[in-house]
Amino acid sequence: MNEMDWIFKKTSYSALSTSEKEALADLCNDEASFARLKGLLELSEQSLPEPPPAHIRTNLDALFDATYTKPAPQKQVKRFRLTYIILAAAAVIGVIFLLFPWTTNRGNGNNSPKVAKGPQTPKNEQTEITSTTPSSLQKKSQQQKTSPLVATIEKPTLDNSSDQASVDEVVYQNSEADALRPSLLTEGATEDFARRDLAKEETKPQAISFKGNAQNSEAISAGVYELKSEKNVKVSKTKKIDTGSMLKHIKPVF
């Protein structure tokens, strides 16, 4: 067919070669039919463009605008966001500068009370030592790790004379209480009580001799340590220890 296009560019049928005439034998065989075909094709190719109506273009423009976002509003939104971010940052910085002097003054004021509160820490430690709940034990372990003040509670040694004296006193008082307690339960306590007063003088050397036993003294010191710790935490509990002095004030009822 490309050859046919070239053939119809020739001016007349007589100008065609034999082979070309054979190719067009079914379409044309003389000058008139050749001219007719040539005119047919030329007119077809020269067909005037047929413009579509304008409303199609209008509809398509509207469709395009609806389908694709316009770039101009996007830029406006970006500019608005940028200005908003800048204003927000400026506002935050301004607030920080306004609050900065106030926070620094308050910070200096807080430092001095912290120093004053220093001595209160041992009180907290003592309460935590006596507490027996698991949560308090955990806190205790944490504070033992953090604050070195836990180590200030020392186990009393035998070499300390004042501690030893207090140990002796406690041992004496306990032995005295043990000696008196059965007499209160029996009838005729007055006589026994009088005897116990006499025996009180006799038991003191025994308690003192008790001091000489090293093993017992260690056990006693351990007990005293426990009693001391309890005494520090709860004062009410310490009254139980001083049973001897309490019994002194008890008068027999006749």
Binding site: M1, N2, M4, D26, L27, C28, A32, S33, A35, R36, L37, K38, G39, L40, L41, L43, S44, E45, S47, L48, P49, E50, P51, P52, P53, I56, R57, N59, L60, D61, L63, F64, D65, T67, Y68, T69, P71
Partner: protein, 192 residues
């Protein structure tokens, strides 16, 4: 001062499609200017000059380009792709049987007389074109299609073969048959 984009005139059809995918309206305008007349004429001839349906199909065609530019097969040329879509739209129209043969409503208005031409020759040509249009409409769709694409829209045999999904030899034989049929119909015109 706002810079107006005028560079799309030099763009190829395929580059214009890429620009349309990015929302460039001027690219679409350029593409519409290049193809709207040809496609409208093609659809109009394929639908026996049913103007209403031809306008609807043309609008549907460009609406597809706007809304679904990704459908464009980049391995093909835009020209063959868009004519394939137009042909398929026409085929669908044939299947619906909504088109009636013989609705040659607007044939006359497309061929206006020019004042400086030879009136007698102009009238003769006009009569010949009217006869050609009628003869074309008597052809079946396949032969009319290849004739319009080849001799009215100026597509090559290869492009027509791609659009019609047929071999080049088949296209040639269809075209030869169409010319022969038209020549037989128009044999009373002694165009010289």
């Amino acid at each position: 001062m706002r810079i107006v984009k005028t560079g799309f005139v030099d763009y190829s059809d395929e580059d214009l499609m890429l620009a349309i995918q990015q929302g460039e309206k001027l690219a679409f305008n350029e593409l519409y200017t290049r193809y709207s007349d040809k496609l409208y004429g093609y659809i109009l001839k394929m639908l026996w000059y049913n103007e209403v349906r031809a306008q609807d199909l043309l609008q549907d065609l460009f609406a597809k380009i706007i809304t679904q530019p990704g459908l464009f097969d980049t391995e093909r040329t835009f020209k063959t792709w868009v004519y394939t879509i137009a042909s398929n739209l026409c085929k669908n129209e044939f299947k619906r049987n909504e088109v009636r043969k013989g609705t040659v409503n607007g044939v006359e208005q497309f061929y206006s007389l020019s004042s400086d031409s030879n009136v007698e020759k102009e009238v003769h040509e006009r009569q010949f074109r009217d006869a050609l249009t009628e003869a074309l409409m008597k052809l079946d769709t396949k032969h009319r299609q290849v004739f319009v694409l080849k001799h009215m829209d100026g597509l090559s045999i290869k492009e027509i073969a791609e659009i019609t999904e047929a071999n080049e030899g088949t296209v040639k034989s269809r075209l030869f048959y169409a010319i022969k049929k038209l020549a037989d119909t128009l044999h009373m015109f002694e165009y010289a």
